[in-house]
Symmetry: C2
Subunit: 381 residues, 2 copies
């Protein structure tokens, strides 16, 4: 691809090692893991290895990993398994559509859902959380990292508060934007379930996982051949799963993550100097997740700007990919309480982990040029 | 892989062109189809092409194809969308677990399911079907080709009978073992929904499709970003979908299919001459689907035989892959009314479409050798 890709929160290219592993599982090692012959046994062994690798990447046990077709399926599986019919659930207004829509659907049935307030930077209002929790609250789901503005929640504190007020609460976190960007420690997080997705961090699309404390709590979404210990039927997507396993071994190290944060800060600094009136949305760049920066260019419609940037070879996004086609202001940005003018001009820049300082500088220059050009045109209209 | 793979009904290796397409979508063309920038638009275009290719392979329209994570998800989606709560449904006792288990679950709720009898060769008993149909029957699901014994149902006749007795019935067929082995003509079949899976015919694992007459009848199994026109949320598995599209253009032609049938007949003939007491299960080889041959070697436990064959480089299966780990007699074979001794010694040989006569002859020789050797050992025990 020519140009500079700044939409890593939407998806990433698979790493060469992942592509090689997928290729091998499609051709040479194509057996069905359920088959009893050698090619089947071999495929089963490869799945087992992938399961161990994914588990190890967050410090969980292999028996806690359920492979799914991606983050959306894992989020659906977690929520629909862990709520109690008629029970009181808690979420936030800034969740990914796969969480938000699932709660919306369940709320139409017999589930009561309360949404915890967030501040202008997307942080959960812990006092409000305490207020809406009650001793019988049964389920809490919130993203560890917000996908549009990069806010990192204080998960340990949230878990502590929730368990104190509601001792039997089950807690799920969507960690899709956190895997490979923050150090995840399963035991320290103390959640009951956690979602990750391969393609957000160098793995293949079509593979994700739900990591669960107690697999016996999971109610399958699909019925059939009882793969994944009966929790996810369907012939295993061996190329996807094995590719995800390889991606799990290639997550960027601390040093690279620190470099990403620095590059993001430089990028922001350069844009702030080159464009008047640019507004940062969400936390300050050193506090948010290393790969996400959300900036608003008031007066310029975000979708038009995304397309103008694309023509110049800068690939960024308005809102999340999952809602970009709806042509409306992001519900996440609305929930932050942003002015409509700011929200409707917001662009998410999200960085691949191998971006260089010089690439980011070239990208910032292009953004400055396109934005200033567009501003001139808009004034003349 | 060394040896001769005779388990094509469980899964197949992806064709080289498919692997190349997957590789391209993982690396170069990795964009998220929901993104508005050039890489996103490009990925969307590739999905569109795949949709057209899959639709064309069975004579349906592209707007009728819903991509899923595979056959199991497509079967679940069809059944759970098309049944009417409290309604009368019909299926058969020889369906794939993803159909059977879904009906079993639904029957525990408020759905009434009747199972149409099949004869010893797996053919639906049309008279019995007429008896159990009533004017208000709402849903019928049956596999066009049985996955264990290769019976091809007379779908057109079944559809005619069903619609005559129950004018508003919705009909689904699991065509996973038929795609690429029989000429499928959407209009002639006259069903409301049809399931296919990529990996059974040279495509990648993790991709399948439900083809539907009226997409508006489909109730999504997953909630979220509303991909696939809102019917299947989750970032599209672009490598899987595009790979499936390529596989759809490479389905074997009539001539190759005829050759497969001939090779299967020769294989059967050779084994029959070399092993006394071998029993054919299911229809005669010229009537069943070209790639499946189920043979019983009474006295030899199927799972032990599968493993013994595997050690000699012949990869066949006992029952379907999806239930091979359960170590029990196949429910499909039981439903045919086979004697326990015959059913528990049944081996499914299923042929890749590029198998040669000489490979099949080598395989038959090995089977003869292993079976006769095992018989000798069993007698001496």
């Amino acid at each position: 691809m020519e140009g500079i890709y700044m939409d890593a929160a939407a998806t990433t290219p698979a790493r060469p090692e992942v592509i090689e592993a997928v290729r091998k599982m499609l051709g040479q090692d194509f057996g069905n893991p359920s088959s009893l012959h050698a090619p089947g046994v071999n495929a089963e062994k490869e799945i087992k290895k992938a399961r161990r690798r994914v588990a190890e990447s967050i410090g969980a046990g292999p028996g806690q990993v359920i492979f799914t077709s991606g983050g959306t399926e894992a989020n659906n599986l977690a929520i629909r398994s862990l709520i109690r019919p008629g029970g009181h659930c808690i979420s936030t207004p800034i969740e990914h559509p796969s969480v938000q829509e699932t709660f919306r659907f369940l709320a139409r049935q017999d589930c009561v859902v309360d949404y915890c307030r967030v501040d202008r930077e997307g942080n959960i209002d812990i006092q409000h959380l305490e207020q809406i929790l009650h001793p019988a609250s049964c389920f809490l789901s919130l993203a560890l990292v917000n996908n549009e503005i990069g806010t990192v929640q204080d998960l340990e504190e949230i878990v502590r508060v929730a368990r104190k007020k509601a001792p039997r609460i089950l807690i799920h976190t969507d960690a899709v934007q956190a895997w490979g960007k923050l150090q995840l420690d399963w035991d320290r997080m103390g959640v009951d379930a956690l979602t990750i997705s391969a393609h957000k961090t160098g793995g293949p699309k079509g593979a994700g996982a739900l990591v669960v404390c107690r697999p016996e709590l999971i109610k399958p979404l699909l019925w059939g051949g009882e793969q994944e210990e009966g929790l996810r039927s369907g012939t295993e997507n061996t190329p996807g799963i094995v590719g995800m396993g390889v991606a799990a071994t290639l997550l960027p190290e601390e040093k690279k993550i620190r470099a990403m944060t620095r590059i993001k800060q430089e990028f922001f600094q350069q844009i702030r100097e080159g464009i008047t009136g640019v507004e940062l949305i969400g936390p300050s760049p050193e506090k948010s997740v290393p790969h996400i920066l959300n900036l608003s260019f008031p007066g310029l419609p975000a979708q038009v700007l995304v397309q103008a940037l694309s023509r110049e070879g800068i690939y960024a996004s308005s809102g999340s990919a999952c809602s970009s086609h709806r042509h409306q202001i992001s519900y996440v940005l609305q929930a932050l309480g942003l002015e409509k003018e700011v929200a409707s001009s917001a662009i998410r820049f999200s960085f691949l982990d191998d971006i260089s300082s010089s690439q980011a500088a070239v990208a910032a220059d292009k953004v400055i040029q396109v934005v200033n050009q567009m501003k001139k045109v808009m004034r003349n209209v």
